[in-house]
Subunit: 106 residues, 4 copies
């Protein structure tokens, strides 16, 4: 399963080429890294659990939001290209997308 | 709204005292910090978006799981104590819990 | 596992007695039943998939919201009583609550 | 906003034509309708709240799962066609998809 997955991923990646790293995504991820470090500090400093849980929710929401940015670009480029390529490329990229989406929602 | 919230939190905190920091929670949060740094590197190295999205889902799931550990202890200690204290303590802690849970699920 | 679960549930139920059915919850559930029937009709009438998906999201949100009402009352009554009873009642009801919450969020 | 949305939807719908109703989706939705009716009965019969919450989670999961079937077909047909059509069709359908996905996950 993993092999098929990896093979597919590399094929798709070859087809489209990598996306140049989005500076906004990088900036947001740096913020999230800081948020997680902040949560760690809150736990070490024995802050009130509800405050910690609220920060965890915020970090999860921020990660989700970055994921949506990456997902959008994925659909606009990789998925769109594979759909235009047709055939197994098209089937595979849609299966892969559905798989990502089903994980994403948990 | 924030003032009421903060006032409640400090009251509850005084009532129960802080929880000693759980070493397992700290360890897990350090791992999550590493995961986020890994995601950052994947973006910089222009990895395939699906791999990045999978790592984002994994980091979110890990955060959620730490949140559940903290939530459980919160219920066992702060919520349980406030319920036993009764009165407004009890009403407030349950309102606060419902508020946290409604955020948590997004 | 199921036996333990069921035994616990019946014990808890005996302890607290059933909650009288909340008319607002019943009204909301009737609305949700209507929403689901509406979705069914949209599928049969071959409506645009995005409209159908939006209605599915709305029905899921409505179910979630009813679940939160029931959860709140559960915490206020069953959980509170079991916490005051202490001992295994307390441990069990919290384990059960965490189990419900972990399912609820998917 | 709604007008734009509706206009887009009707355009897309005209482009692709409706999908013939999927008998499996209809069957599943009938089951979900039955599940919701079952939850209603459980509330009326004053069943244990945890059992009711579990059934609510199950109904939400079933709705989500039907939503994923509809989403997959939407991507395979409407989204794929609009991507091949290009231009504003392509931009619009992707925006709409992202909008649906962001709602779907709550």
């Amino acid at each position: 399963m993993i092999d098929v997955q990896e093979k597919l991923q590399s094929t798709v990646h070859e087809l489209h080429g990598p996306h140049p790293a989005d500076p906004k995504v990088i900036k947001r991820l740096k913020n999230i890294e800081g948020q997680v470090r902040g949560i760690l500090r809150m736990v070490e400093e024995e802050k009130y659990c509800v405050e910690i849980m609220n920060q965890i929710s915020a970090a999860r929401a921020a990660l989700h939001s970055v994921g949506m940015v990456i997902l959008k670009r994925h659909v606009e480029t990789c998925v769109a290209d594979a759909i235009e390529a047709g055939g197994t490329e098209r089937t595979h990229i849609i299966d892969e997308l559905m798989h990502v989406l089903s994980k994403n929602e948990k």
